[in-house]
């Protein structure tokens, strides 16, 4: 495994798109959260209305809520690392190195494992970026609460799992379709449009929450909306609590779907002509 990671690092350390993606993530994650922080600060700056707003919202960027809030808003940008993951696998087809790696002595399973390492490396980097941003905002917005940094740390592994699961879907598309633009188009269409419409349609038209089993929705629900949503009335509170209670089930479902995705990749790669 370590030797596979070393070889993948040889491939990606000089890949310009990798560093571009890191740079964009390094800008995007703080920026999106800064935007919501500014909205929060605007709402809470008035003397009387601010106090009421603070009572309802708390401080979503103070420890320990920062882990949750930053994870929620940062997860909107899964498309950035997804582009990279799709490029990393489709490049192998473009350069025909998926054949050369086997010719040079890799087992077919090792090739897929090496790509699994890629997805894990990207996921780890994204999770690290998220963690740094969460710590930064937690420290900046309310340093008095810093002593609560170790609460709600579960959002780090949840963010990791959500990112890994959704990047695995991106990988599957890139792996099966082989063409970067088509795979990315399908990924974006499904992630941004199709699944959202389908989930909402089932929820509000059919009155059925079957959408929670859809590929992205399963892992989206690992990180529910930030906690302040639960402060707006009994229904919202009940809904928020229900979302929190469902997290363990979604962990299980996400692990199962992600495992199926990788099993498909291993099976297909062991049988198909390269």
């Amino acid at each position: 495994m370590l030797s596979l990671i070393k070889i993948e690092w040889l491939k990606i350390k000089k890949y310009p798109a990798f560093w571009w993606m890191l740079g964009i993530v390094a800008l995007t994650y703080p920026s999106i959260n800064l935007m919501f922080l500014k909205v929060y600060e605007d709402i809470t700056k008035g003397k009387e209305t601010g106090a009421i707003a603070k009572m309802f919202l708390g401080n979503p960027y103070a420890f320990p809520e920062t882990w949750h809030t930053v994870a929620f808003f940062s997860s909107f940008f899964i498309v950035l690392p997804a582009i990279l993951v799709i490029m990393l696998v489709t490049n192998e087809y473009n350069y025909r190195t998926h054949r050369q790696n086997i010719i040079d002595g890799w087992d077919r399973k090792e090739f897929i494992t090496s790509k699994l390492c890629d997805v894990l490396i990207v996921t780890a980097i994204i999770t690290l970026s998220y963690s740094i941003v969460a710590i930064g905002y937690g420290s900046y917005t309310d340093s008095k609460n810093f002593y609560r940094w170790s609460e709600q740390l579960q959002y780090i592994p949840l963010f990791f799992l959500q990112t890994f699961a959704q990047l695995s879907i991106a990988f599957l598309l890139g792996y099966l379709i082989k063409k970067a633009f088509i795979a990315l188009g399908i990924f974006l269409f499904h992630y941004l449009i199709l699944e959202n419409i389908a989930v909402s349609w089932f929820k509000y038209q059919v009155k059925n929450d079957i959408g929670k089993f859809f590929p992205f929705e399963v892992s989206d629900r690992l990180i529910p909306v930030p906690a302040f949503i639960g402060n707006f009335g009994q229904d919202m509170k009940a809904g928020y609590q229900k979302a929190l209670d469902a997290i363990p089930m979604h962990v299980g479902l996400t692990l199962a779907i992600t495992a199926i995705i990788w099993i498909i990749c291993y099976r297909v790669h062991s049988k198909r002509d390269l």
């Binding site: 030797s3 890949y15 310009p16 350069y95 050369q100 040079d104 002595g105 049988k271 002509d273």
Partner: protein, 298 residues
């Protein structure tokens, strides 16, 4: 001696197209084995199967007496179809990946093979900036990494200029002199004839013949004769016994004898006694090109 590669009854279909049909042959150790065939005959399919890029529908193969595996592939330097490298990496970075995957060679060896394929001056340039010939050279360099005992080359002179072709041909001869086993697919008959000791000829996925080049080519003795008086020579030759047929090309006659039966002295004496003085008398081998067209033409 155990063959380096043994292929037994390999068949491969692409949909309804039979790309390979029950092909079997052995590649002896230390030979230069040419796989010949027209375009679409199954040469690359065959090499792809023995390198685990394609999966055969039936049959099996063994490298060094063992079923094909990653471990056996690591011992073989291979160039299959096209040079396959990461476009954004330099020659050295790409060879480092080849080295890491195959376990063949080291940093000094990378410099050695780049020197052999004359890419030292451009070793830090990105692969995407290379010409077609340079890409092909790098692929040959990658195959040479770690000085493997067995090399597989699919159309090794593709994209090279005449000087490059001559250099690669010389390199292959040099490797053969060092005792390496080289398996080479090509449709360039001249190339194969110049460097190969063994040959297999494929047509539409079927193996037509395989064996030592001399044995494959020499199933007849061909004797070339000519004289100043062509008309008289023709008459005289009609009276000579032993050959199966004769072909005339201008002043030159080719007499085809069963293998090993042409007796040059007898023919010379006979012509002289009949008043014909030959100005050419030559026993020649059939060219690979002639044999190839004989076998592959319907």
């Amino acid at each position: 001696m155990q063959p380096v590669l043994s292929i037994q009854g390999i068949s491969k279909k692409y949909g309804s197209i039979q790309a390979l049909n029950n092909v079997s042959f052995d590649v002896p150790q230390g030979c230069v084995f040419g796989i010949l065939g027209p375009n679409g005959s199954g040469k690359t399919t065959m090499l792809s199967i023995i390198l685990d890029i394609l999966q055969a529908n039936s049959g099996n193969y063994a490298w060094f007496g063992k079923p094909g595996s990653p471990e056996t592939r690591k011992q073989i330097g291979s160039l299959l179809e096209t040079p396959n490298f990461y476009h954004y990496l330099s020659a050295v970075d790409n060879l480092n990946i080849t080295k890491a995957i195959s376990g063949r060679g080291d940093a000094a060896d990378i410099d050695r093979v780049l020197e052999i394929v004359k890419l030292s001056a451009r070793k830090k340039s990105k692969f995407k900036t290379y010409s077609l010939g340079m890409k092909q050279r790098l692929a040959i360099g990658a195959a040479l990494l770690g000085n493997p005992e067995v090399l597989v080359f699919d159309e090794p002179t593709n994209g090279l200029d005449p000087v490059g072709i001559a250099e690669i041909r010389e390199l292959i001869k040099q490797l053969a002199r060092e005792g390496k086993t080289i398996i080479m697919a090509s449709h360039l008959l001249d190339e194969v004839e110049k460097v190969c000791t063994h040959v297999a000829i494929l047509k539409k996925g079927t193996l037509l013949t395989a064996g030592k080049v001399d044995e494959v080519l020499a199933n007849e003795d061909i004797v070339e004769v000519s004289a100043t008086d062509t008309a008289k020579l023709k008459l005289v030759l009609e009276g000579f016994k032993g050959y199966s047929h004769v072909k005339q090309d201008g002043k030159l006659f080719e007499l085809y004898f069963p293998l090993g039966t042409a007796r040059m002295e007898d023919l010379n004496r006979y012509c002289f006694e009949q008043g014909i003085i030959l100005n050419q008398l030559l026993l020649k081998k059939k060219s690979l090109e002639t044999k190839f067209f004989e076998l592959t033409n319907d």
